[in-house]
Amino acid sequence: ACSGTTGGSSKVSVGIVLPTKDEPRWVQDEQRFKDALANSDYTTEILFSQGSSAKEKENVETLLNKGIQVLIIAPHDGAAAGAAVEAAKKEGVTVISYDRLITETDAVDYYVTFDSLAVGAAQGQYLLDSVKGTNVPLYLYAGASSDNNAFLFFEGAWKVLQPKIADGTFVIANSTEAEALKDKQELTRDELGKILGQVTTNWDPNEAKNKAQTHLTAAGADLKGDVAVLAPNDGTARSIADVFGTDSDISSFVITGQDAEKASVQYILDGKQSMTVFKDVRTLVADAMGMAIDILDKKTPTTTGSYNNGKVDVKAKQTNVIVVDKENVKKELIDSEYYKASEFKGL
């Protein structure tokens, strides 16, 4: 069958499915996607899956009903989205996996990405670069242990950090499971799962705060002083930073983040958060939309490489992530017009 078998005039050319409206990041994406097609003949519709793979599939089906030709999908769970995109593939729709790779299926045509492993690696590298001396206490935190992406971020960071843990630069302060695995660079899913089970924040700032408080209570004086904190994203980073900032035995701390949320940009300006991994959504949106328009215009999109998703090699266009800290925050976020200067104090 070919696309567009159903009637109706409300036809849409590009369908977009985003994971959840609960995280500001995807709300930003929504606006930028809308803007990207504003002055073309093509139309788009964006649906949110609210963290449910089932709703994701419903969304894809709805969009197929509206006769889309290209599907841009940021899966909630890359492994569970196979069924949804296979349905799209059957209709002859071109599937672009956006930001997160859909695995174990041949129904993905393109992948536009920041590369989740690279995000984690950037966080780990920043910690490495920022600390001085040896035996620096390292506090690890991760996203939800029910979220595949949380594993990818953590894995990326672990690969970078592990050699320095093994050689004594860092001492793990809050996870016995991680401590036990400190000599192993390539962790299995199972091993990662054990660590995440202990240091998960569930992506929830409140959970992160509880955990951070508990960990600082448990930590002896030798695990305080100048410390490093791996926080998975900006929401949790801020609440963890709040806790570390109020412990008098912590003389200084470096803490990571991700997403360049406005709130965290302010924290960075205020010196409360050290860095955030800025993923310039505009580039990603432009890449994805560029691809989509190429496909609609029957041109072949340009790609920069490929990723194996367990079944096939998916042609990919990769965008580099940018590490933002107090030094370059103005250049990367304000001068590039990602945010307005008026939105922040103390620039």
């Binding site: 109706g8 709703k55 599939k57 492994a79 196979g82 979220d147």
Partner: protein, 391 residues
Amino acid sequence: MTLINDLKTLISKNIRDYGMYIALLVIFLIFTILTNGLFISSRNISNLLDSAGYIAVLAVGVMLVIVIRHIDLSIGFLAGFLGAIAAILLMQYHLPVYIVLPIILILGTIAGLFTGFLVAKVGIPAFVATLAGWLIYRGAILQVTEKTGTIIVQNDAFNAIGNGYIPSIVQINGLHLLSLLIGVLGIILYNFSAVSTRRNKMKYNFEVVSKQIFILQLVFVSAIIAAITWILAGYNGFSWTVIIILLVVLVYHFLTTKTVMGRHIYAVGSNPEAAHLSGINVNKITLIVFGSMGLLSALSGILFTSRLQSATTTAGTLFELDAIAAAYVGGVSAAGGVGKVTGAIIGAIVMASLTSGMNLLGVGISYQYMIKGGVLALAVIFDVITRRKGN
């Protein structure tokens, strides 16, 4: 015009039962108009029914639980957990589908019976017992998927349950033959049973509706079955999910309306003390209802896992609230003793239609939540008001 008058009294007498159907009709009409017919397209209806499947079976189960004055919050994560177990058995132990399915269904029944045991024998209020179950199954699903994360199911037979369609035999003018046959069969069976029931009643000299009304009723129901069949036949025909829903409806409808056990369930819901003194084993009925709930949770888990072709770590999250909402939209009463299988299914379809229609219209997710909340409230207000009048 006696016909019109007959119709009027019929409707006003049964407004509660018909309300739901009317609501569904109105929702269908509104969305069809707003989407220029897209909503009613073969494909959308087919997708909509499929997407309602795993909630619909849960709704049937929980409707009965509510009828006997209990509640079950654990069903969502139980379904998710059993779905994960199914995926593990299939992919890690490489068991064949025909062994995995019965195992899962049995496990579900056992889990349900255990809940029933806590409620009936130990005497824990169902709300708390199943809240504890909610926590436990939530932990359990994380536990079994910890090693692997999301488990992809690569088994065509299993995946067909949630994604496949019954074979068409022959495609006629783009229509699906076997589906058409099933529809025709359904119409014949319905008419036959309706006529024989009526004849039987007349033999006993019981009151029956007038002949005109009766024919109208036959034509109406036949037309609806025909329309649904026609719509579905225009896409891929009946999906396996729809067939499973139909089976569940038929079996449960029969069990609840025609059998002694069904009657006993409603008796227990209506007055547990009186049921006990009437020689009904209240504990047994409670166990049966929770056991059936577990069975249907397992079925829901299978449908869901198959539909996604994978078991995720968060599968089942908040299914229970969707199912309970569907049951209430379908007219079950919190006071116990009142509720219908068809109601629960219609409730689930109403909720799925809302999602589907609003998605087609591109309504923002925040409004979707609010509108669904509003519809749920309205449905129950309607129910409460008509019931009050009926008194």
